[in-house]
Amino acid sequence: MLQSNCPNCGAPVQFRWSSAVQTTCEFCHSILVRTDVDLQHVGQVADLPADSSPIQIGTEGAYGGKSFVAIGRIIYEYEQGGWNEWHILYNDGTSGWLSDAQLEYDLSWLVQPPEALPPADQIQPGRDFFWSGKRYQVTTLTRAHYKGVQGELPFQYWGRAEVLFADLRTTDGDFATIDYTESPPPLFMGRAVDFDDLHFKNLREFEGWS
């Protein structure tokens, strides 16, 4: 575990993941970006919106024989609510994403796109892509607002405004999402998962539910 101090408030800042590029200070909510030599204070997280994801930084889980821990997240909001993209660190040192959209869970990893992805204005729900022998259908296009970040992320991510995502699914539980915030757009591929498939530990608690 790497240790440093917040350049803004001096509080200790810990990294669970050696490859993390960005983190937030738990005390003053500064957004901190790692450079070769030190931590740079690049911005401030506004108050995070009230959110009821049962996952929190430090929540552990397991999938496909690997255990993972949630080390960071990006929070998005759109007209039909909000969702969390949890950045999770696997015990083999790789990292990926666990999306919690109104308690529907998807796991994904950044992958090399099998083909050049079409620009945002050429993608619409119902469009099919054939990747590694499977038909991926665009199910939703979500125009969302970036609402905040927390913890460790694999890239610099802050101060965004509007973002556009295309979600794709297959007939056997595969999941993919194209992030049109970047150019060329990165592709994340993975699986739709049930809560029970993830064997969570250290979840948040809700009054009246045990």
Binding site: G81, L103, T140, E205, F206
Partner: protein, 406 residues
């Protein structure tokens, strides 16, 4: 840190509004004034002040919990949706169920029929009038425009009275698939049929559920498996009948008791009756089979027979006609006289012929096997499986009568 639900006051009427869905709740309906409120921002806004004069009371009170496949869910939202078609309007009720870890489920209720519904995160394979999901094929039952008619409680999405959505239902009882199309996206869900009694038990509700009327689209048929088992029983009984038939044939007396050849010459002699020698019919009362074999070609003959019991003198009369032109008809005739008591018998035969002369053989057999009872038994055995198949088909016909794609 334990997360607590935050209460709020309705900005329209000032009354208290309970929240059960934590920050997932985007819209909530004020239970006092029925305003739809936006809870996504700290300053709660009134989105819609709506609603009919009459208040609709959910059968499952909001805040009630039930266990579904080991997980506790709380009823937090309720909506009435309706569809208008050429037969008029009909409404059904939907309950939103919530668990802070497992997410949202739905219950729908129509005419006392219930469905436990989950949104799918895997795409079904839809092709026009059918859809396939997890190895099961579903048939299109209905497509309609559903309109939100009444809302109560809270929802993790934007809800408005008057909003419409395109719904297509596919069935494979006891399951159903539904595709809801908002124009922007299609949401697939899977429902499982539940009875009111099961729902009442799950929620521990007092009293009894409203009884179900009619047949619901994915209601499991009470006839399921019955035709199959009835046909299986039929096959066993038919096999047993076959064995009996074989045994019956094997043990039949089936013995020739008389055979004689006669010749008829055209003219006066043809009218003269002949009397056969005596023969004996033994055993218990049984049949006698009389076979008349001729060498007629392009000719016609008529035989007036009398079977006479020698000791009683009682005669049984019967006429047999043989007409043979070309090779299309048989030159032979066979008749079975049933229930002939044991005794000594003879035949009196009066042949008539159209023209010319011919010869004929008369043979009498005692106790030949007959099969009429076998056909009757087979027909009787067919009644239960046919009845079961017809009842099952009738149920399906009534189910699909409600379909817009029958």
């Amino acid at each position: 840190m334990v997360i607590k639900p935050k209460p709020l006051n309705c900005p329209n009427c000032g009354g208290p509004v309970e929240l059960r869905g934590f920050a997932h709740t985007l819209n909530v309906v004020c239970p006092q004034c029925l305003s739809v409120l936006d809870t996504s921002t700290p300053e709660v806004q009134v989105l819609q002040t709506f609603q009919s004069q009459t208040r609709i009371q959910p059968l499952i009170p909001l805040g009630t919990r039930a266990t579904f496949s080991g997980t506790s869910f709380e009823a937090i939202g309720f909506q009435v949706r309706e569809v208008e078609d050429e037969d008029g309007a009909y409404a059904w009720r939907e309950y939103l169920l919530f668990n802070p870890y497992k997410g949202f489920r739905y219950l729908s209720e129509y005419n006392g029929h219930w469905n436990y519904i989950r949104v799918l995160n895997t795409l079904p394979e839809a092709s026009g009038r059918s859809a396939a999901y997890q190895g099961r094929s579903y048939k299109l039952f209905d497509s309609s425009t559903a309109k939100t008619f009444y809302v109560l409680g809270e929802f993790p999405w934007q809800v408005r009275v008057g909003e419409t959505v395109q719904v297509s239902d596919f069935v494979a009882p006891p399951l159903a698939l539904s595709a809801e199309n908002t124009g922007n996206e299609v949401t697939w869900s899977q429902g499982e049929y539940w009875t009111g009694k099961q729902i009442w038990e799950a929620f521990r509700l007092p009293g009894t559920p409203p009884s179900a009327s009619g047949i619901f689209m994915n209601q499991p048929s009470p006839h399921i498996g019955k035709p199959t088992s009835a046909w299986r029983t039929f096959l066993w009984l038919a096999a047993a009948l076959g064995v009996i038939l074989i045994l019956f044939t094997l043990i039949a007396q089936n013995r020739e008791v008389f055979r004689q050849r006669y010749t008829v010459t055209a003219g006066a002699a043809s009218a003269a009756p002949i009397v056969t020698p005596e023969f004996s019919a033994a055993g218990r009362p049984n049949n006698l089979q009389i076979t008349t074999s001729t060498d007629l070609t392009n000719n016609w003959a008529y035989f007036s027979y009398a079977l006479v019991n020698k000791s009683t003198g009682q005669a049984r009369n019967f006429g047999r006609e043989i007409s043979r032109y070309g090779s299309s008809n048989s030159p032979n005739d066979r008749v079975v006289i049933p229930d002939v008591p044991p005794g000594q018998y003879y035949l009196r035969i009066e042949p008539e012929v159209q023209s010319g002369s011919f010869s004929y053989d008369v043979s009498v057999r005692r106790g030949v096997p007959t099969y009429g009872w076998f056909i009757l038994a087979a027909v009787l055995l067919l009644i239960p499986p046919l009845g079961a198949s017809l009842a099952a088909a009738g149920f399906e016909r009534n189910r699909w009568r409600e379909s817009s794609h029958a």
